[in-house]
């Protein structure tokens, strides 16, 4: 076991204590931007890993990418070939962008994404996969020459998972104060669930992947603060967000 200077560890712990006490997403995000800036990151995104046929916007928790980069990313549908979210599906541990394997020859699209990112000073990044039973999300940070020393990585890992978790909790609390809050696609997936269709069957009906359907169910459950598919369907029906 190597002895690691605990400076960043303590910073990370202080940060987690501070955001646990914060009451708004805006306040959490401004503290987040400040602490990652001190580690050399100027951009971030927190989102679900989009399944086939799903847009990045549908899975977004927080978007701190440069506007132009995000517009290009969405317009060109880079999420379909970006090796970073793809790698999240196959690991439980955080990783640096530069550690993600792809072959520029057999996978030229992946190479395009990684190269274009550099136009926005997103030279290197750090990505933390977030795994739930039915869905995979990620917190991805990027900068010109960020600090990726072992102690910084541990701190970034801690900061990322607790920020993700805190934002979800705050979003859930905010959502419970509204009436209609499901997206059209989430309502559609729930309507099929209400008619007894499994995720696989719904995927076939809507022409999207099963993982995509499961993601929407998970998001609907989060928004309605329910505990499983049945209670999500029941709550959505009672709230008038779906009909049979």
């Amino acid at each position: 076991m190597q002895v690691i200077d605990a400076y960043w560890g303590r910073r990370a712990l202080d940060y987690v204590d501070a955001i646990e006490a914060s009451k708004t997403s805006a306040s959490v995000l401004s503290q987040f931007e400040k602490v990652i800036a001190d580690l050399g990151f100027h951009a971030f995104i927190m989102a679900g890993v989009p399944a086939h046929g799903q847009s990045l916007q549908q899975t977004m928790l927080a978007n701190g990418w440069p506007q132009e980069w995000f517009d290009m990313y969405a317009r060109e549908q880079f999420h379909r070939c970006d090796p970073i979210p793809r790698h999240c599906l196959s690991t439980l541990n955080p990783f640096a962008w530069s550690e993600v394997p792809y072959d520029p020859v057999s996978d030229p699209q992946a190479h395009v994404v990684m190269t274009r990112a550099k136009d926005f000073r997103l030279n290197e990044g750090f990505c933390v996969p977030i795994h739930y039973d039915d869905a995979v999300g990620a917190v991805s940070l990027a900068g010109e020459d960020p600090n990726l020393a072992p102690d910084a990585r541990g701190a970034l890992h801690l900061i990322s998972i607790f920020t993700h978790s805190r934002l979800r909790a705050l979003a859930r609390a905010a959502a419970s104060g509204q009436n209609r809050r499901l997206s059209r696609i989430e309502a559609e997936v729930l309507s099929w669930a209400a008619r007894g269709k499994t995720a696989w069957e719904t995927a076939r009906i809507l022409g999207v992947s099963e993982r995509n359907v499961r993601w929407h169910l998970e998001e609907a459950q989060r928004k309605l603060a329910t505990k499983n598919k049945t209670s999500t369907v029941a709550t959505a029906l009672v709230n008038g967000e779906i009909t049979i």
Binding site: G9, A12, L92, Y132, A155, R168, T235
Partner: protein, 227 residues
Amino acid sequence: MPEIHVVRKDNRSLYEKYFDRYHRLRHDIYVKQRKWMALDRPDGREIDQFDTEDAVYLFCIDNGQLIGSMRAVPTLLPTLMSEIFPYLNLRGPIRRPDVYELSRVFVVPEWRGEHAGPRIDMLLLTAIMEYGISIGLTGFSIVLETWWLPRFEKCGWRARPLGVPHMMDGMSVLAVLVDCDDTTWKSQCTQIGLTRPTLTWRGLESVNRQALPDIFLHLPRVAQQAQ
């Protein structure tokens, strides 16, 4: 539904027949599957220095078969965190009568995921909270694989980090302190659909236990308004 039994020194004799399988299961899961080779022993039974007579075990038993378990060790005695992973805790050692450390949490492969009844991992997490409230604990320290944390958040456990994640044998691990209180237990019961306590205290009738709060299953908010 599988039963969760409290097993400790005062009633261990009633459960002695389970311990051989218990330690073999630990070997199967931690040495053979997870490849924690430091725990390897030639007799195929995984036992460590924290399996003392002060350790408390929850045994999840279905039809006489052990299908899952969890271990709790008093933090007044040596624990994984204090002896093996002290560098995971930057906030200072935890040695308190009201905090136990959880370890060796597992469910046998055939009982993982969805099946009839609550998920066994959720059942164990709910049961240990019930145990903690019953004997007056306020928290649990845990060294866990970091990727588990979002699941804790989802099931209502409030985990405060004690340090930063470290890579250990290719897996990120972290030390946390989890609140043990009525609110967490009630929220978990609601989530997995339990309306009463789950623990079996066979042979522990003389243990002084604190009262548990009532559990109510809540109707959806809008349904209540419609009534």
